[in-house]
Structures are given as C-alpha cells and as structure tokens.
C-alpha cells in the first residue's frame, strides 16, 4: 500500500471552516473549532484562507522533543502518532511544532494531533470545494508540475507561433 498525504489547495479554500468542525467532532465528540487539529487562518478582506495542519514531518521535532518517547512514526500510514498511555501532557510537542499545528484540550489535559483519522480524514470529506485532498505521496506534486508545464507550453506556443490552444494531458 502506498502512503498518502494531506494536501491543501489555497486557491480553492473559501474559509467555511467545515473542516475545523468535522475534525473537532471526530477528535473530541463536540463541535468546537478551538479543539480542532486543522485551523484556517483567514485574511477575510483579501480573500486569502490558509489551512494549517500537521505535516507528519519525516524528522519530526515533536518526536525529538518528547521526554517520554510517546510520539512515534506509524510507517503504514506515514504519520506521527501519540501514545497517550505514555504521554504526560507536558505540551513540549505543542510548543516545538514549527507549524503550530498541535493543539491542547485543557479540560481533558490531552494533546490534540492530527492522526489522519486512521486513513479516512474527515476534513477532506467535509471540504465542499475540494480544497483539501488526501493524495498518493508519490504523485501529489504532479498536479502542480503539470499545471506549470501547461503554462510553459502555452507560452512556448505563443512564442513560436503554434496556434493550437493548450490542452490538458
């Protein structure tokens, strides 16, 4: 089985925050965007919305900093997982995360971290505009690659006089 990664397309995100709600409902059983593992940072007036979530780093700072070795890598799903039996809720991982993608539930004293919903991310399911997708890690960059290639092709066509309109592969 090939591993998959969570990818966000900034151009498609409308900032509806359904992903936050779905995530918090799945993770904690209540709807509260503060307890979500994905956060939309918005610049409403400019129309820019940026989904921030755990990138499941290969050499993860959260794993490195954990004093109880409670964070480990799940090779099957290519994700970082917290073993809550070992976790002492010291929040070191929350502070260390370079993306600020980890959260903390004060009431339950529990670190909130994206676990990709065991391979079925709810945020992707609830994203009406398909801004979030769960793609094969070996090919996810091809979307951008082919888009850039297409732009380059049409530019070349213009330059050298080919009149055929650019067509997707």
């Amino acid at each position: 089985m090939t591993s998959r990664v969570l990818v966000a397309d900034l151009k498609k995100c409308t900032g509806c925050k359904q992903c936050e709600l779905a995530c918090s409902l799945k993770q904690t059983g209540v709807i509260n965007p503060v307890k979500s593992c994905i956060h939309i940072i918005d610049w409403n007036h400019e129309g820019i919305f940026l989904p921030v979530f755990c990138q499941q780093c290969e050499d993860a700072p959260c794993m490195a900093v954990c004093p109880k070795d409670a964070i480990y890598r799940d090779i099957k799903l290519e994700r970082m997982v917290i073993n809550y039996d070992l976790c002492v809720a010291c929040r070191m991982c929350v502070f260390t995360c370079p993306f600020g993608a980890l959260g903390f539930d004060q009431e339950k004293a529990k670190v909130l971290k994206c676990d990709l919903c065991d391979g079925d991310p709810q945020c992707v399911k609830f994203c009406d505009t398909d801004a979030l997708s769960y793609l094969d890690s070996s090919v996810f960059q091809y979307q951008t690659t082919s888009k850039t290639a297409l732009m380059l092709k049409s530019a070349t066509d213009r330059k050298f006089g080919h009149t055929s309109p650019p067509v997707g592969r």
Binding site: L25, G29, V30, P33
Partner: protein
C-alpha cells in the same frame, strides 16, 4: 448539548443583562432562528412603537443547527420593526457570526432600550458586556472593525456592525459583518444607530455538544452528492443572481457612463458607509433623473453640481446621503418619505419600484412573493399525501414556503424564491439532521405546523401595525403605467394589475389570512401561542 444555548435580554436603558435558558417547549413550537426570533419580537416590542425610538426591539437569532456541520447553517437573523416600511424586517446575514455566537453560549440576543452613549456589545463565553464605543463611533465599517480587533487584541472575534449611515439614521442603512457581507436594506442599521450600538462583537470557545456525533459524520458520506449538491447549487445560483443584480442595477442607469472603476469605487464606498449598494444606486438613479427633469433642485446648502458623468459627484452624493447633507437628507428618508416632500409623481421615475418587488429578499411582504409575479411559477397549495390538512387559521401554505421557513428556523441560509432548487423532499433530511444533532424528534407534519405558526407570528406583527392585504400592493407605477424610464428586458416588463390582484387575493384566500381571523382568541389557542394573546388583544 446543542439545546443548552441561552437567551440574553440586554436592557440598554438600565444597563442590565438577564440570561435565561430557552424552554424546550419553545423549541417544539418554533424550533429556533427565525421562528423564536419572531416570537421574541412580538413578545417584547410594544405595538405601534416608533421604529427609531427606544421602544423598538432588536432580536438577533441563530438557528437550531447553527454552528453545526449542517451545510450553510451559518445564518444570523436580525429582526426589528423596520424604519423604512414600519413593518417587521427580517434580515439574513451570511458569515461566521452565527456559529461564533453559538460557541459563545447564546442563541438569541434581545436588545431593548437605548444607550445614552455610543456602545458596542462584547459577547464572550456566556457573558455579555456593554462597552464604550466612543473611539469607533463615526468610523467607516472596516476601520471600526479593525480598531475593535486591535482594542480587544483578538484576531478571532466576529462582528456585525453599522457604518456612519446607520449612525445618522439613514432609513436603508445595513448591517455589515467583518467578512464584508451586508444585508438589511429595510433599515436595520438605522435601528442599531438609534440605540447607539455600533457593533456586536462575539468570541466563543464553548463546546457545542452533539447528540450523535458518529451519525452526523456518517450523514455526509451517505448523502454526499445529494443534499450538499443541492445546497451548493443554491449557493452558486444565489451568487450568480446577486452578480446579475449588481450588473443590472447599474447597466441601464446613468452611472454606466462613469466607467467601471468608479462603479467599483462607489460600491466600495457605499459598503464602507454601511449602506446597501442596490438601494443606493436606485436612489442615485432616481435623483439624477429628477435633477434632469427639474423636479429636484440643489438647494443653497448643497452647492454641488450633480453630474453623473463626473465620478466625483457620484461619490459626493453617496456621502451626502450617508451624512444627511442637503438633498442627501431627503433621499436618506427612503423613496416614499422623500416622495412626500418632492411630490408623489416623482415615484414614476423610481426604477427599483419595478424590480425590487421581483427580487427583494428581505421585505416584509407576503412570503414567496416572487411566485406571484408573472415570471414566477403558480402557487398551488401542496397537500402531501397521507397527511391531514394543516390546522389553524394561518391556513395552508405551499411546500416551498414550508421548506423555506423550516430551513430559516434551523439557521440555514435560503435566498427567497430559490427554495425550489432543493430537489426532492428536504424535510426528510432535515428531520434526520435535527435528530442527529440535537436529539429532538419531529415528524414532517409537526414541522409543517411549526412553519404555519411562524408565518402567522410574522403576520401578526404586521397586523399590529394595521396592515391589510391592500398594503401588499405597490404604487401604480409598478404596473402597466409607463415608468418614464426607457428600459427593456424581463426585469422591466410591466405587471398586469388585474392579474396581480387576482393572484394576491388567491394567495390570501388559500392561507385564510385576514385581520379579523388572526386576531381571535381561538386562533391563538390553535396556533399554541395563547401566551401572546393578552399583549396583542386590542
């Protein structure tokens, strides 16, 4: 649970705040959102009050499914007596304010009285604070929002507020959210201004408990491609329609000559001042035509030379309306009040009369009024199979109307006249959503009764203002009389007066709506709103 949200009664006269839970019985009678909003307004607003006085009441409501995963459930309803029409005005505001207010622990805010100094309301996790808004009073909408954001040092707050036009009591001033969504051309902004409220600020981090989380999460998977496609369709079609209106309201006008840039700028300016671009462009068209015809003359105080080809004069005129200077002061009263000063014949040049009735989404006219129009489809009463006829003197209403009201009560955004886009039977899906999210069980017939009841409530408010079915007619110029403006296209087609009268009387007959019937004690009992009877009996 999703049902533990509360009502905050905010008395600005005494600076007192009462917080009470919402009785479960109210949920069963009106669901929430628009339904409970209308009920609270009827209960607290004194009949025949001055719309811009301290007797008027503002009710801000969110629906039963607000803040949940139900698509499009982020709709705030703001209700008050309209200063433009003196009837009930119900404003639907899109945006994240509705969800935020639920996470802050409230479903409804009832604002009574009048603050002595400019204030803003800060709602945060079960508390309501009345704060001084001296620093932001008089500022443009986005500037005021930005300043409050800095003052509270919080990037996540959500706001609805008014601009200078609302403060100056322009009778078509709107509410603006911090996402720049505007709504309320029936003058809700002026009601906020009359109470000296600049903004309502909200931030909530309270849990919204869901009865059956797994089912809610599964619900999406199961119905993917059905419910949500329809709702997506609704959104996109609404947006397209809005764009069309935006283009249309400017294309045939004098303003076209100013070029696109000044149009965009004037629209931006209008929004910043807290007015509705549609209403303002209608007003400007009217004013420019009247200037040309000589009905309206710039008085001494206002020495501006209005020239539609000069973009600056358009901007100036918009500012004059918002700050009520010179001729702007007359226009700010609204078309009918202005016509009382200028002369009623001038209304023949008022273009919006013709098309606003076709596309008005928040007016207090009968529901689904669009369907009475020649272009709309005929309103045949739908009696679903196997269900007993609906009781109560509110009469029976169409399935579209039922769906619209129920969606509104649940806090789901619906553009008027577009409910028919919800293919199939949305009630069935809504019943499931209510059960999964709140644990309340309703059957289809109960929901229909609730819809009838809520329509009757809104009707009752208008009856209190001495409205009869004759008030639902528009000035003659909206019918066969030539409007004096040379415009063609489906929007501008004349409406046949006889046909219109026939349709309206059929509409009332089917609903059994009349002033006499709705004001009988028996009807109140049938509709299960007898607790309102003493306050409305007169």
């Amino acid at each position: 649970m999703a049902l533990n949200r509360k009502i905050a009664y905010i008395d600005l006269n005494r600076k007192k705040i009462d917080i009470t839970p919402i009785p479960l019985q109210w949920r069963r009678r009106f669901l929430g959102g628009r339904g409970i909003g209308a009920y609270l307004l009827l209960k607290h607003a004194s009949p025949k009050c001055d719309a811009l006085g301290s007797d008027n009441v503002i009710v801000i409501s969110t629906g039963l499914l607000g803040g949940t995963l139900a698509t499009l459930s982020g709709c705030t309803f703001v209700m008050a007596k309209s200063p433009l029409s003196n009837l009930l005005c119900n404003v639907q505001l899109k945006g994240l304010f509705a969800s935020e207010i639920r996470w802050a622990g409230f479903d409804h805010l009832v604002i009574t009285g009048c603050a002595r100094r400019p204030v803003y309301l800060y709602i945060n996790n079960g508390t309501v604070e009345i704060r001084d808004a001296k620093k932001v009073w008089g500022k443009n909408v986005s500037k005021a929002h930005e300043q409050i954001r800095q003052e509270l040092k919080n990037e996540d707050i959500r706001m609805i507020g008014i601009g200078p036009s609302g403060e100056n009591l322009v009778r078509f001033a709107t509410l603006t959210t911090d996402e720049n969504a505007i709504s309320g051309r029936t003058g809700i902004g002026a009601v906020f201004g009359s109470k000296n409220i600049k903004t309502v600020v909200c931030r909530g981090t309270m849990d919204l408990e869901i009865k059956r989380p797994d089912d809610v999460l599964k619900f999406k998977t199961k119905n993917a491609g059905q419910a949500d496609d329809i709702q997506k369709k609704n959104v996109t079609q609404t947006d397209q329609l809005e764009q069309k209106i935006a283009i249309r309201d400017i294309t045939p006008s004098k303003l076209t000559d100013c070029g696109f840039n000044s149009f965009a700028e004037s629209k931006f300016l209008t929004r910043e001042l807290g007015m509705d671009p549609l209403a303002v462009s209608g007003m400007l068209n009217w004013a420019f035509t009247l200037f040309e015809k000589g009905n309206l003359k710039a008085n001494k105080a206002n020495s501006l030379k209005f020239n539609p080809e000069n973009p600056d004069s358009v901007g100036e005129m918009i500012k004059h309306i918002a700050y009520r200077k010179g001729v702007g002061n007359i226009l700010a009263k609204g078309s009918f009040r202005a016509a009382a000063i200028i002369g009623y014949s001038s209304l023949n040049y008022f273009a919006p009369v013709k098309w606003l009735i076709k596309l008005y989404s928040e007016d207090p006219l009968p529901a689904n009024f669009a369907s009475l129009m020649p272009t709309g489809k005929d309103t045949d009463i739908v009696e679903p199979d196997g269900l007993e006829p609906l009781e109560g003197n509110a009469g029976s209403i169409t399935l579209d109307e039922i769906n619209e009201m129920i969606l509104n009560c649940l806090g789901i955004f619906v553009e008027k006249g577009l409910v028919s886009l919800f293919d199939g039977d949305p009630l069935k899906r809504l019943i499931e959503q209510i059960r999964f999210n709140t644990g309340l069980n309703f059957d289809a017939n109960e929901l229909k009764k609730i819809a009838c009841r809520c329509y009757a409530l809104e009707r009752l408010f208008n009856i209190g203002e001495e409205v009869t079915w004759r008030n639902d007619f528009h000035p003659d110029c909206s019918f066969d009389v030539p409007s004096g403006l040379e415009m063609t296209g489906p929007m501008w087609d004349s409406i046949d007066l006889k046909e219109f009268k026939r349709k309206v009387s059929k509409y009332y007959r089917q609903r059994r709506w009349s002033k006499k019937d709705l004001l009988k004690a028996g009807v109140f009992k049938k509709l299960e709103i007898d607790d309102l009877w003493p306050s409305l009996r007169r």
